[in-house]
C-alpha cells in the first residue's frame, strides 16, 4: 500500500438519505469559534461547525481530541462540570445557546443525549421511559407515550410483555435502545450520541446503527464515534478532530476538517484526515 491518496480501502460510505449526495446544509446548530475550558485548561480550540437539520453528523478523531467535549456543549451538559466554560458561539436555530436568558434545563429537554455506556435508571422499563415525560409535566396517556417511544426505538416487541421488569435485566444492546427510547420520549429535536456503541457487541451495534438511520427521518443526530466505519456507514457529514500538543505538553482538541462524509472518506483535503482514516495514526 504505497499510494494511499488514491486507494482508501474497506470503507463503504452511505448516507442515510442521499448517499454521496447530501443536500445543502440547513443548520440546526451553528458553531463559531468555540473553545472549551476546564478551569485554565483549554480542551478544545476554535471550532467552527454546522449541524444540519435531520442529518446525522459524525464527529471522529483520536482519543482526547475534544469531540465529546464539543458534543456536550450542544446540550450544555458541560455546565455540570465545575470549572467548565465555553467561549465563542453556538447558535441553535439562530438563538445563542449560551445566552443569559437560556435555561439549560429547557435546552436539555429539546436536545436529548445518549451516553457511551447504557445508563438506564434502576427502575422498571416502563418507568425509565415515563421518567422524562413525567419530569417535564406531560399529562395524558403515559402508556401511549411509552409504547410510542419504545416502538420508535425498535424495542417494543422485545419488551412489551415485561414493562414492569427492571431495566437492568435487559442486555447491553437493549439497554442502549432503551436509553434512546427514553431520550425520544420527551420528543426532542436533536439527539446527541456519545459513542453509543462502544460498549456493545457487533450485532447490537448494527441494530443501533439501523435505528439511527430510521430516526434521522425525524431527528437531527450528532454522533461521536471512535469507529470510522461507523461514521462512514451512518453519517451524512463528518467532522474530523485531532489534538495539537503545545510546548507545555498539553493537548488541545481542534477541528481539522468538516465535510460531507463521502468527501471525508474518499477525498479528504487535509493530510491529517487522510492519515487518520487510512489507519496511519489514532
Amino acid at each position: 500500500m504505497t499510494d494511499i491518496g488514491t486507494s482508501i480501502p474497506s470503507v463503504t460510505v452511505r448516507g442515510p438519505q442521499a448517499p454521496g449526495n447530501t443536500a445543502a446544509l440547513d443548520p440546526v446548530f451553528t458553531v463559531s469559534d468555540l473553545s472549551v475550558f476546564y478551569g485554565e485548561y483549554e480542551a478544545v480550540r476554535q471550532v467552527d461547525l454546522s449541524i444540519g437539520n435531520r442529518e446525522i453528523t459524525a464527529m471522529i478523531g483520536p482519543s482526547g481530541c475534544g469531540k465529546s467535549t464539543v458534543l456536550r456543549c450542544f446540550n450544555r451538559m458541560n455546565d455540570l462540570i465545575p470549572g467548565a466554560r465555553a467561549a465563542g458561539k453556538i447558535l441553535y436555530h439562530g438563538e445563542d445557546l449560551y445566552g443569559d436568558h437560556v435555561d439549560p434545563i429547557e435546552v436539555r429537554r429539546r436536545i436529548g443525549m445518549v451516553f457511551q455506556k447504557p445508563n438506564p435508571f434502576p427502575k422498571s422499563i416502563y418507568d425509565n421511559i415515563a421518567y422524562g415525560p413525567r419530569v417535564n409535566g406531560t399529562k395524558g396517556k403515559m402508556d401511549e407515550v411509552v409504547e410510542e417511544a419504545l416502538t420508535q426505538a425498535a424495542l417494543w416487541d422485545e419488551v412489551k410483555d415485561k414493562l414492569k421488569q427492571n431495566a437492568l435485566s435487559l442486555s447491553g444492546g437493549q439497554q442502549q435502545r432503551l436509553c434512546i427510547a427514553r431520550a425520544i420520549a420527551v420528543k426532542p429535536e436533536v439527539i446527541l450520541m456519545d459513542e453509543p456503541c462502544s460498549a456493545l457487541d457487533p450485532i447490537a451495534t448494527t441494530k443501533i446503527e439501523d435505528l439511527m438511520q430510521q430516526l434521522a427521518r425525524d431527528y437531527t443526530i450528532v454522533i461521536v464515534t471512535h469507529n470510522m466505519q461507523q461514521a462512514a456507514r451512518v453519517s451524512n457529514r463528518t467532522a474530523f478532530f485531532t489534538a495539537d500538543v503545545d510546548d507545555k505538553g498539553e493537548r488541545h482538541g481542534r477541528l481539522v476538517e468538516f465535510d460531507e462524509t463521502s468527501r471525508i472518506f474518499t477525498n479528504p483535503t487535509d493530510q491529517r484526515t487522510e492519515d487518520y482514516i487510512t489507519g496511519r495514526f489514532g
Partner: protein, 312 residues
C-alpha cells in the same frame, strides 16, 4: 520440539509446586478470623447474660402484668411491674428524634452530595461528623440547660423542666450526623452516569436528587436511618438528664418521662442487690429493648431488600 516436557529435566521445566512456604498467609487468616469472632462472641455474651436474669424475673413477676400494666415502680412499695410507661416513653422520644433527624439529615446529605461544591463538602462533612463525636452526656446538659429554657420561652404551652419533648429533640440532633453522613456516602456512591441520564432529559437538580439518586441510594439511606434510630432508642444520657426519671404513662410531651434505657441507667447506678427481683428487672427491660431494636432492624432489612434499586 515435539517431546513433551519431562519432569526429569528440572532445568527446562520448573515444578509448579510451591517454591517457598507461606506461613504468613495462615497466620493472617487466623488473626482476621479472631477479629471477626470477637464481635460475634460479644453479641452472644450479651444475649446470654441478658437471658438468665430475665428468665428468673419472669419466674417471679407475671408476664401479663409486665406487658399490660401501666404502673411502673419496681423499687417502690408496693412495686409495680408494668413496662408500658417505659416503652411509650422510649417510642415517643425516639419518634420525636426521627421526625427531627430524618428530614434534616437527609436534607444535609442531599445538599452535600448533590449541591455543595467540592470545597464546601470537604469542610462541612468533617464538621458534621464532629457532632457525632460529642459525648451524649454533653448533649444531655445542653438539652437541660439550654434547649428546655429556650422551648419554655417560645412554646405557647407549658412544659416541665424535665420533659420528653426536649429529650427527643436533642436525641434527634445527636443522630443527625449518622443519618447525614451515611446517607451522603450512599448517595455519592450512585454513579454519575445516572445523574447525567436524568439531567439529559431536562430534569432539574432537585428532581434528579429526589427521583433518581435517592431511590438508587435507598438501601444505604435506610441502613443509615436504622442505625440512627437504634442509637436513638438506646440513647441513655440525654433522656436520663433531660427527660426526668418519672415513669409517667402519658402522651403529653411536656411531661417528664422515663425511657427504658434511662431506667436501666438509674436502677443500675443505684445500690440494687444482685439476685433480687429489682436486679432482674434491669435485665428484663434490657432484653425487651434488645428485642425491639432487633425486630426493627429485621423488618427494615426485609423492606430494603424489597424496595431497593440495584444499580449495578
Amino acid at each position: 520440539m515435539a517431546t513433551p516436557p519431562s519432569a526429569t529435566a528440572p532445568g527446562t521445566s520448573p515444578s509448579l509446586a510451591r517454591s517457598r512456604p507461606r506461613h504468613g498467609e495462615q497466620i493472617i487468616k487466623v488473626v482476621l478470623l479472631l477479629a471477626a469472632l470477637v464481635s460475634v462472641a460479644t453479641t452472644i455474651g450479651i444475649v446470654v447474660s441478658l437471658l438468665e436474669p430475665t428468665i428468673r424475673f419472669f419466674g417471679e413477676v407475671s408476664a401479663v402484668e409486665f406487658f399490660t400494666s401501666t404502673s411502673w415502680g419496681p423499687l417502690f412499695e408496693p412495686p409495680g411491674y408494668g413496662v408500658l410507661p417505659l416503652v411509650s416513653a422510649t417510642l415517643i422520644t425516639t419518634g420525636i428524634a426521627v421526625v427531627v433527624a430524618v428530614p434534616l439529615g437527609l436534607g444535609a446529605a442531599i445538599y452535600l452530595s448533590e449541591y455543595a461544591r467540592p470545597r464546601v463538602r470537604q469542610i462541612c462533612k468533617p464538621v458534621l461528623e464532629v457532632l457525632a463525636g460529642i459525648p451524649t452526656v454533653v448533649f444531655g446538659f445542653f438539652a437541660l440547660s439550654f434547649v428546655t429554657p429556650l422551648l419554655r420561652g417560645i412554646l405557647p404551652f407549658e412544659i416541665e423542666i424535665f420533659n420528653a419533648l426536649c429529650a427527643g429533640l436533642v436525641v434527634g440532633f445527636m443522630i443527625i450526623p449518622i443519618v447525614a453522613s451515611l446517607s451522603e456516602d450512599a448517595m455519592t456512591a450512585v454513579p454519575r452516569a445516572l445523574r447525567e441520564g436524568s439531567f439529559a432529559l431536562g430534569a432539574s437538580k432537585m428532581t434528579t436528587s429526589v427521583r433518581v439518586v435517592l431511590p438508587a441510594a435507598f438501601s444505604g439511606i435506610v441502613a443509615a436511618v436504622i442505625l440512627a434510630v437504634s442509637r436513638g432508642a438506646g440513647e441513655t444520657m440525654i433522656v436520663y438528664i433531660a427527660g426526668g426519671g418519672q415513669p409517667n404513662f402519658t402522651f403529653d410531651l411536656g411531661k417528664a418521662m422515663q425511657t427504658m434505657a434511662a431506667f436501666i441507667a438509674q436502677a443500675g447506678s443505684g445500690d440494687v442487690p444482685i439476685g433480687t427481683v429489682d436486679y432482674n428487672t434491669i435485665f428484663a427491660v434490657g432484653s425487651l429493648l434488645f428485642v425491639m431494636t432487633f425486630a426493627m432492624n429485621y423488618v427494615s432489612a426485609r423492606l430494603v431488600r424489597r424496595y431497593r434499586e440495584v444499580y449495578e
